[in-house]
Symmetry: C2
Subunit: 169 residues, 2 copies
């Protein structure tokens, strides 16, 4: 039986993709990188993962060429984590997960977590892959997020809880 | 910290989607259902998972309304597993994983595992979300698979190995 971690054991591209991003914490780490949160502490705070969990995911993503580490401070040495072109190309996967989650798992009465404004036409893009308003294929660089009040509050609370846990440590 | 299995703990639709399909074996089970393989043994043979692994994934997918169980035999009682509308709506997620896997994880010299013919225009669809030839958004019902010789052989070998393991048991 094929171990799906071994790319040579199957020609299925879905199984191969899952061998790289088939883990929920990995997807949440990627989510933060797509949001532009490049530092370890931010990723930890906003995913709710332990440092160990974040570290193993970032390391594997780096090994797989999805993430690259960049030095932003020399004393002490500190790194930022950025999506490579291969990583940025997971955009359609992330958007498809978002669309499905918003359509099928949203709690009654909630707003969508994020609405995106489509720069091409200036209107709300909807859930994709095509713009609700102009019908063009949505591209990452053309989308500006508008966070819902609920999601804004949730993420502020996560940051605050993280800072507090740090100050107690 | 939010446990991502608890939908009330986060408003993020990606985290919510991952709480349902954020597991590689779950995705491989879904892949087989999308291919039209509805019986437990087929799913087991073609994913390479153990019966226990298949059973837990199908059960969770059923609990989450992604899969429904249908009786196809009364003596003995036997079930088939089918995607619900909610499950079928994971199409864009599966296609996005496929596209990324084909683009970034294919081994040099290999064919694409599957090429889809787009019924709307009669040409090869490519990796989506838009048809390579006519530019329309790809829908599941408009795509006919053409399996590569390599993938055809791989799946035949998996079925044969499964039958052999059964006859030895």
């Amino acid at each position: 039986m094929a171990r799906i971690s071994d790319l040579t054991q199957t020609q299925c591209p879905v199984a191969r993709a899952e061998s790289v991003v088939g883990d929920s914490w990995t997807v949440l780490v990627l989510r933060e990188l797509f949001f532009g949160n490049h530092r370890f502490d931010e990723i930890q705070a906003l995913t709710g993962a332990t440092p160990q969990m974040v570290a193993t995911r970032l390391k594997k993503l780096e090994t797989n060429g999805v993430v690259e580490r960049r030095t932003y401070s020399l004393r002490p040495v500190r790194y930022e984590y950025h999506l490579t072109k291969k990583g940025a190309d997971l955009f359609q996967v992330m958007m498809a997960l978002r669309a499905w989650g918003e359509k099928w798992l949203r709690v009654e009465g909630e707003d969508r977590s994020i609405e995106y404004v489509h720069a091409d036409c200036g209107h709300l893009a909807g859930l994709g892959p095509l713009c609700d308003h102009c019908g063009e294929l949505l591209k990452r660089e053309d989308l500006s997020p508008q966070w819902s009040p609920g999601s804004t509050a949730e993420r502020a609370a996560q940051r605050a809880a993280f800072r507090e846990s740090r100050s107690r440590a």
